[in-house]
C-alpha cells in the first residue's frame, strides 16, 4: 500500500503544481473553478483512454509513438501558457481596473479571458500524470494485490498530493494582488520553459536533435532529481540534473520568447 501511495502522491503533485499555478493566475476570475475542474475532468477521462490504447500509441511511428504523443501535448501546453502570458500583458489598463475590483472583493467576469487555454494546460498535465497512475494501478491490481489496499494507497496518495498542492496554491494566493500577476507570469513562464525542455527530452529519446545531445552538467550530487526538492523543482521550474544542450536551449528560448512578446506588446501598447 505504501508503494502505491508514494507513486500516486508523486504523480498527483506533478499535476497539482500546474493546477495550483493556474488557479493562482486566475484568482478572482468568475467561472475559473468550472474551467479548471473541466480541465481536470477531461484530463482524467483522457488518461483512461490513453492508458487503454497505450500499447497502440507506443507502436505508432516505428515505435516512437509515446515520445511523439508526449512531446506534442507538452508543446500544446507550452503554446497555451505563452498565449496566456501574452494575453495578460496586452490588457494593461483593463487589468489594473480588474485588480482594483478584485481587491474590493468583487469577481471579474471570465467572459473575455482565455481561461480555456489554461484549462487545456490543466488537462494536459492531468492527462500525463493520470495515464501513468492508471497504468500503474491496473498493473498492481492485476498482479493479484489486494484491491482494497491498492485503493487505499491510491486514495491516500491523491489526498496527500492534493493537500500539498493546495498548500502551495494558498501560499501563492496570499500574495498581494499587485504582485500576484507578476509572480504568476513568472511561474507560468518557467512552467512553459520546463515543459518545452521535457518535450525536447522526449524527442531526443526518439533520436532527434543528435547534434546537441551531450549533457551540459551533472548536478545529481548537489540536487538529485529524484529527491523531494528535486522533484518539486522539476515540476515547478523544469529543473533537470543533467540537461542536454537541446533541452537547455528550448528552456531558455521559451523564457526569451515570453519576455520578448510581453515587452513587445507593452512597447506597442496593444
Amino acid at each position: 500500500m505504501l508503494a502505491t501511495l508514494l507513486i500516486v502522491f508523486r504523480e498527483v503533485i506533478e499535476a497539482g503544481i500546474v493546477v495550483g499555478i493556474v488557479l493562482a493566475a486566475t484568482k478572482g476570475v468568475k467561472g475559473r473553478g468550472f474551467w479548471v475542474g473541466a480541465g481536470v475532468g477531461v484530463g482524467v477521462l483522457g488518461a483512461g483512454v490513453v492508458a487503454l490504447f497505450a500499447r497502440e500509441i507506443a507502436d505508432l511511428f516505428e515505435g516512437w509513438g509515446q515520445e511523439y504523443f508526449n512531446a506534442t501535448i507538452l508543446s500544446a501546453a507550452v503554446v497555451m501558457l505563452t498565449w496566456h502570458n501574452i494575453w495578460m500583458a496586452s490588457q494593461g489598463q483593463a487589468m489594473a481596473q480588474e485588480a482594483r475590483v478584485r481587491a474590493l472583493g468583487g469577481a471579474v467576469s471570465a467572459g473575455h479571458r482565455p481561461i480555456t487555454a489554461l484549462a487545456i494546460v490543466v488537462g494536459v498535465a492531468v492527462l500525463r500524470e493520470g495515464t501513468e497512475v492508471v497504468l500503474f494501478l491496473y498493473g498492481i491490481v492485476s498482479a493479484g494485490n489486494s484491491a482494497l489496499s491498492v485503493l487505499a494507497g491510491g486514495v491516500l496518495g491523491i489526498l496527500a498530493g492534493g493537500a500539498l498542492s493546495a498548500i502551495m496554491y494558498l501560499g501563492l494566493a496570499a500574495i498581494p494582488v499587485g504582485a500576484l500577476v507578476a509572480v504568476t507570469t513568472g511561474l507560468i513562464t518557467l512552467l512553459a520553459a520546463g515543459m518545452a525542455s521535457q518535450a525536447v527530452a522526449y524527442l531526443q529519446q526518439a533520436g532527434h536533435f543528435p547534434g546537441m545531445s551531450t549533457a551540459l552538467w551533472d548536478s545529481s550530487a548537489l540536487l538529485p532529481q529524484n529527491s523531494i526538492l528535486g522533484q518539486l523543482l522539476y515540476s515547478l521550474i523544469g529543473y533537470s540534473e543533467s540537461p542536454t544542450g537541446a533541452q537547455l536551449t528550448a528552456y531558455l528560448a521559451i523564457i526569451l520568447v515570453n519576455i520578448a512578446f510581453i515587452r513587445l506588446i507593452r512597447f506597442l501598447k496593444l
Partner: protein, 115 residues
Amino acid sequence: MTERISRLGAACAIIAGLVLAGSAHADGIKRFYTTIKDHKFDPAEIHVPAATAVILVITNADDTSEEFDSAALRIEKVLQGGQKGSVWLRPLTAGTYPFMGEFHADSAKGVIIAE
C-alpha cells in the same frame, strides 16, 4: 493583433523546431538489450561505449506495464506487458548511470556503465 502575433510566433517556433529536429538515422547504431522479468532487469548492468549514441532495446516480459525511468539519462518510457520498446541513449561520459522500473522500484534497478 496579439492573437495574430502569438499565432505567428507559435507557427514559427514549430517550424523552426521541425527544421532543427533532424532525426538521427537508427541504422548502423549499436543496440543494447535488457529484459524485464519478474520485475527485475536482466541484464541489470549494461556496458556501453562512452561518447557514443546507442539504442537500448527494452523488452517487458512481464504481464503488467512497467515504466523505464532514469533521471541521469533523462529517459522515461512506459512498456506494456509483453511489449518491446527502444530508447536512444545520448553520448555519455565515462561513468555509472542508474535506471529503474518506476512501478516496481525496489526490485527493478539497473545501471548503464559507460567506458
